[in-house]
């Protein structure tokens, strides 16, 4: 009996350490995603459409069976993005949008086989449009800021982001980031 408990303890400790490591990796990835949005357009102006924080939120939602963790992660990423936005955009705009994206992504993952590349492509395309439209709507409705929304441009950007999402999700799958967190 004593031998069994001693056998179990190191595994728990290892899992806990690994979980913490994965959390740190996730925070680092989030930071990289936000920095990429912050800095990449300076280097390559044509990458302004790239929404890595959103793709990370979608990925986390799709891989997580728990919508609560997914929506909390979305809120964290969104608020981090809001913090780097101009002060005429109060904190919470991206937070709410990405909270919903995380929740819906996790809900969808229960009903569909999200390992399928085609479904991932469609979902990323859809979530980008939802994200852009909901953010625009909130800015208009809550803040009274009449910001133009170009549907054609949004569709093109959604397609580009969906195309980027496929290889990105494959890389993240190899890292088994979310799977280890679940364990």
């Amino acid at each position: 009996m004593i031998g069994a408990s001693e056998h179990i303890r190191p595994r728990r400790q290892r899992a806990s350490w690994f979980g913490r490591f994965q959390v740190a990796a996730l925070v680092l990835l989030t930071l990289i995603a936000i920095i990429s949005k912050f800095y990449l357009p300076r280097l390559i102006p044509s990458t302004v459409w790239l929404e890595l924080p959103l793709l990370l939120t979608v990925y986390f939602g799709l891989k997580r069976p728990s919508p609560i963790l997914a929506l909390l992660f979305g809120a964290f990423v969104g608020i981090a993005e809001d913090s780097l936005a101009p002060e005429n955009l109060p904190i919470g705009m991206y937070g709410i949008t990405k909270t919903l994206v995380g929740y819906f992504a996790a809900t969808v993952s229960v009903k569909f086989n999200v390992e399928n590349s085609g479904i991932r492509l469609v979902l990323c395309f859809f979530f980008y449009i939802f994200h852009a439209f909901f953010y625009w709507l909130m800015r208009r409705a809550l803040l009274g800021q009449l910001v133009p929304l170009d549907p054609r441009e949004t569709l093109i950007h959604a397609a580009f982001n969906a195309a980027v999402a496929l290889p990105l999700f494959m890389i993240l799958d190899r890292m088994k980031l979310s799977g280890e967190l679940t364990a």
């Binding site: 912050f38 809001d82 101009p86 002060e87 005429n88 919470g92 709410i96 909270t99 803040l143």
Partner: protein, 383 residues
Amino acid sequence: MEALLSRYRNLTVLLVVVVGQLLYLAYQVKTSRDERLIRVWAVSAVTPMAGVVEAIRHNTIGFLQDYFILLDVREQNRKLKADNDKLRMENVYFRNQLSTAEHARALTLFQTQSPSKTVAARVIGNSTVASAKAVFIDRGSTSGIAKGMAVVTPDGIVGKVVAVYPLVAQVLLVTDPTFKVGVESQKGRVHGVLDCGKGPCAVEQIQEEEKVTPGEWFFTSGEDRIFPKGFPVGTVISVQPGQGMKDVKLNLSGAPGGVEEVLVVLQGVHQRIPVGPVVEDSTTKALPPPPPESGAAGKQQAVSQTEADKVAQKYEQIGKEQNHVYGALASGLPNFNAKPPANTPATPTPAPKATTPPPAKAAPVLPLGAPRPKPERPTPPPQ
């Protein structure tokens, strides 16, 4: 109740999180208070990494160019560019002063007023909101930057400082949909509001009866209390009648989106809007080429400037054609009605038709024996 909450636990948490953020958002909007702490944390976490990335990029690329290709030329070029920007700013200021008033008055203004005090900064990152046009610069409160300061380049306006941190500051660009700038036209002194939120930049609030023409310059009017008056904004590219107001489209001269180095106006000085063209052309103006050297110095042709010069040249040419020497004895009168050949080297710049007097009228009928005036060679006008 407990069973209901546990059954709809996910939805409950979602509602709590969303409503919590909504309330927080409403609090910020209602009190106009910004949560500085969160922003400071985020900026402090992100900007050093972005700064490191920028430094690595700058140094790795710059290393190759500095030491293998251009040695120190890159650094010198950067310094010269900064100096040049500063000098161009000063030049714009001086030219504005000199072109708006008499020389003495401009000098008095120059003595009494000092140009805007500025500090140079480099753009290190963008905002995370794609639709919000904002950038971060590598100067903060430690460099004397404060919220609300104008950000410009020698070519035009860029934006205003909206958030200041110790080492960085956030600049909202004029192309942001929420940014408005008070502007004034150069010729008609027509006041308007610059708005770049709906596609191309437009000047709003201009009445139909106001006169604005394409190509006209717009300057900051100073009414927005951000930009000092007299900074160039851009030129009008189209003017169309709108619904009650004119639809004036503007081409920004500062190109705020792609700018890499900017000047933050620490102490703004209002300037007068110049009467003439004030913004420097990008093209370099060179002196005209020297006249071709020939054996006889007196053969050099002066450029016709006045009607008298043109008539004198024409008469000289007619005299040459008919082998007539003005002032010589028994030389007779040349036929002033004869037309000179179309392209002779004696006429460097043919006069326009409207200004060329007809030969019959132009040829003066001199009385016989009267002293014939020798056409004097015109002195070249100062360039």
